[in-house]
Amino acid sequence: MAAPALAKPPVLDKAKGEKCVEETSVMRKRHMDFLKHQRDDTVHGGIRGAKHSLAGCVECHANARDGAVLGSSQHFCQGCHEYAAVKLDCFDCHTSHTKSAQASQKRGVPR
């Protein structure tokens, strides 16, 4: 991508906890594979709440204030994908908010 605005990697919201579900370097490169694998395991195999769950990512990586992984280029999933020019459709359906954020704001959620 040649967009000059994207020259510097974005500063993303800090995650909860000390470690990701895999090594950070591995996550950076392969998180989509884990997610897609998990997706099939859950939907077809009925394995729920496992390590690579999408709902899990959101719980740890949500912004501390609004409890979301999308919303601005600082938000975890959005910021990096904007930088990498990747478009996701996951959040057409999946909530981008943590469980507690969903409970506290029972209103329309921005994509």
Binding site: H44, G49, A50, D92
Partner: protein, 244 residues
Amino acid sequence: MIPVDESRRKFLGTTAAAAGALALGPGVMLYSYAEAKAGSGAGERTIRWGMLVDTTKCASGCTACVDACNTEHNIAPAKLPTDVQWIRKVELKDERTGAVHSMPVMCQHCAEPPCVDVCPTGASFKRADGIVMVDRHTCIGCRYCMMACPYKARSFVHEPTTNKSSVAPRGKGCVESCTMCVHRVDKGGTPACVEACSDAGHRAIIFGDLNDPNSEIAKRVKAATTTQLRADLRTDNGVRYQGL
């Protein structure tokens, strides 16, 4: 650092224990049963989740099951032909005797589901435990399954969704239907409609493993005459009706 909170601690616990704990959960058993069957196989059984609706206990006008389903799956009560709905109450009157019945109709979780046969991408599928559902990651929204379903059990999401829930992700352009509350069943629970019916004091819907001879549902299906909707199609439904 962000302070560690309680929900996160709990969440970490779940994740860490995931492999171990879930090996005991029914979800994973889907696999172990399948393997056992393929292997030594002596006397192993496979699960087939089903429901039995007793129409003599189902109260006319009561919509507890429908309401519970709507709440569970984040569905607004259906008004228009384009609205999502997974379960509906049907009122019947016998044309000859005038006898009336009331009962819920939802996905019948057929053993030979026409929706699965026709789906071009295989998004419409049947789990090893007999639950029929749509994998909304591979559904292209052609609606052929809705053409094929004999029970009008499926809905197409006609509009973008705003209010999302982590239990029931939903987005425009895919087909969906009753999942028999897989997310509960996989954790050893019962479907929301069954629970609500019981809470309302009717106990008109029971849930269980049709293949387990000791389960209440299997015993009752064995003892009483039960009906499958459109039995003439031989789809071998997982949802049975009693008292029709």
